[in-house]
């Protein structure tokens, strides 16, 4: 009987990684990137928001993966490992880039939009809503922003967030709590003032 020879696209992630590292097979590496590019992009966009910078983070994730692929201990799924790399890279990027001088002009814009939508005068497009949410999220400190995004958007548990961000459970919870409070105050506090 003829032996079935698996193609790259039929292989498991770990097999591709082994090929790329041990046998220096670039096609296997490309296949791996191809397989996960969409997922990594989705993760980064969810964490960072759809932005021109997000594209750079996605690329940075794969560079980071190349650097630390040798450290992958095989005690978890490759996808889990890559997810951690994605989150950590995005977090580092946010920490590096977030400046305290972010002006809240965008928040005022958001308040106007929300007021319009609530009054039924205008229904916001999905893109506009996303931009709006990003604007407020970007005004949060990196720690709070990561915590609330991982909790609300990525649907991770407190324990998972605590492991990822290497922060105690209680700290993670208070970051989420304060982030929600801050966002609420920023959006609706301003709205009240305007009235």
């Amino acid at each position: 009987m003829e032996k079935h020879i698996p193609g790259l696209c039929e292989m498991e992630d770990i097999e591709l990684l082994d090929l790329a590292i041990d046998h220096k097979d670039q096609k296997a590496w490309t296949e791996l990137i191809k397989r996960y590019y969409t997922k990594v992009s989705a993760t980064v966009y969810r964490i960072f928001g759809y932005d021109s910078e997000a594209e750079d983070i996605v690329q940075e994730v794969f560079m980071e993966l190349a650097k630390c692929a040798g450290n992958f201990r095989r005690d978890s799924q490759f996808s889990t490992f890559l997810y951690r790399v994605s989150v950590n890279t995005a977090f580092r990027y946010i920490k590096r880039k977030t400046s305290k001088d972010i002006v809240c002009d965008s928040v005022e814009l958001l308040v106007d939009s929300l007021a319009l939508e609530k009054n039924g005068d205008c229904i916001l497009e999905a893109g506009e809503r996303a931009a709006m949410v990003n604007s407020v999220l970007k005004t949060l400190s990196p720690d709070k922003r990561m915590a609330i995004v991982l909790f609300e958007v990525e649907n991770l548990t407190l324990k998972e967030i605590s492991d990822l961000l290497k922060a105690p459970l209680q700290t993670v919870w208070s970051r989420i709590y304060n982030a929600r409070k801050e966002m609420y105050d920023k959006i609706f506090g301003n709205m009240k003032k305007q009235r």
């Binding site: 079935h4 090929l19 969810r46 794969f62 409070k181 609706f188």
Partner: protein, 420 residues
């Protein structure tokens, strides 16, 4: 009734939205009549909804970028193996360079050549639902792969007729993947709609949205509603352990449906009788009491939940029936925590401390996922352990840990200190 003027604080709104705050009747009245508070609750829900739903953007990979990215990252991957130190293009330069106009034409040209090769290899690439691209591979690649890679783990389709598969075999069916964790008897059903399994152990990973069913020994059907779980089936028992997502186990014996969510597991006895007995032992004392109870009539609403029926049975003085009904609610109903509370209350009234401990151990997942009665249940468990003179103080320590400001904290601390 005089309306309470105190408005809700944002802290209370957040807790309410998370399900951690139960509104008392006077608070409910207040919210109904207070435009400010109802406006705040609506706003908070609106904001939370906006955060949760507006950041999911589907993105399709650009082949050129992937190829260019692969080139650059592959060099990094072998940075310390290959001696390419003369190349002075660090990561940051590459990333900036991609968007700059100097490198872009070069990378684009390289990518275009590689892209052409990929298109030649298989124009009809299929995009699977998890976003990966399954591109047919060139014959030369397959040959090279076969020579360079010798790992035995190969994905094959689930056999059409059931057969024993060895440990660590990866089987594919549609978008889903089954890995055998022990030698397993497995195959497709004749109608090709479900996977049949007899003895063995498998780990199943299913893409969300797939209609995927596994039939165990023509009795249990595991309907997959989520992503990943482990099935262990032997001649005597069958267990399901959910790693991620949600599954439903349908028992054809009585058509019962048991939903299992993340980190939950359940074991069934495979015997002509029903599923495994739960640790609700019927002692001699209760039998005597039941005898008295039988003299009265039992009134229950036919279509009501087990919980309601249990309460009605309790009102009719049928403690035994009530217990059974509460257990049914615990097993299959929605208000598991309330049912656990009711059962434990019956045991507490009886002074059956060991039964309380046994009950809480058996339904530890309900206890731990509880919100409304958790504090009360832990206190009850702690006192039961104390009165039963058990050396185990799990419920006491859990109470102290989880409710550092609990109203029984000092009392329980004293209790624990005295014992020391």
């Amino acid at each position: 009734m005089a309306q309470i003027k105190k408005h809700l604080e944002i802290e209370e709104i957040i807790a309410f939205s998370d399900g951690n705050l139960e509104l008392l009747p006077h608070m409910q009245d207040h919210i109904r009549n207070c435009s400010k508070c109802s406006f705040m609750i609506r706003n908070y829900d609106f904001m939370r909804h906006a955060v949760t739903t507006n950041r999911h953007i589907s993105h399709f990979p650009d082949q050129k970028k992937i190829e260019a990215l692969s080139d650059a990252s592959f060099k990094i991957l072998h940075g310390d193996v290959t001696t390419e130190k003369h190349e002075s293009s660090p990561l940051s330069i590459f990333i900036r360079g991609w968007t700059s106009s100097i490198i872009k034409p070069l990378t684009a040209a390289t990518a275009a050549v590689l892209l052409a090769a990929i298109i030649y290899a298989g124009f009809l690439s299929t995009a699977s639902s998890d976003g990966t691209m399954d591109t047919p591979i060139a014959a030369s690649d397959m040959e090279r792969t076969a020579v360079s890679y010798e790992k035995p783990e190969i994905k094959i389709s689930v056999p059409e007729s059931p057969a024993v598969k060895e440990k660590d075999v990866v089987l594919k069916t549609g978008r889903s993947k089954i890995r055998t964790l022990a030698p397993t008897y497995i195959g497709m059903s004749p109608d090709k709609n479900s996977v049949l399994m007899k003895d063995g152990k498998i780990k199943v990973s299913v893409m969300s949205g797939d209609d995927f069913r596994i039939n165990i020994k023509d009795r249990f059907t595991v309907r997959v509603l989520g992503t990943s779980f482990i099935l262990d089936s032997s001649s005597e028992r069958f267990s399901v352990e959910v790693i991620r997502g949600l599954v439903e186990v349908v028992d054809s014996f009585d058509n019962s449906v048991t939903p299992l969510s993340e980190k939950m597991s359940k074991t069934y006895q495979i015997s002509p009788e029903k599923v495994e007995p739960r640790p609700v032992s019927a002692g001699k004392k209760r039998k005597i009491e039941d005898k008295d109870e039988n003299e009265r009539k039992l009134f229950v609403t036919p279509d009501a939940s087990f919980l309601t029926q249990g309460r009605e049975a309790l009102d009719s003085g049928k403690k035994g029936a009530a217990l059974q009904l509460f257990i049914m609610e615990l097993e299959r109903g929605e208000k598991k925590e309330t049912a656990l509370f009711e059962v434990s209350r019956i045991y507490a009234n009886e002074g059956s401390n060991s039964k309380i401990i046994e009950l809480f151990d058996a339904y530890n997942n309900v206890l731990n996922s509880g919100k409304l009665y958790k504090e009360e249940l832990l206190i009850r468990g702690c006192y039961a352990q104390h009165r039963a003179e058990s050396k185990d103080r799990t419920f006491c320590t859990q109470y102290i840990d989880e409710f550092p400001r609990g109203y029984k904290r000092n009392e329980i601390m004293e209790l624990m200190n005295d014992e020391k």
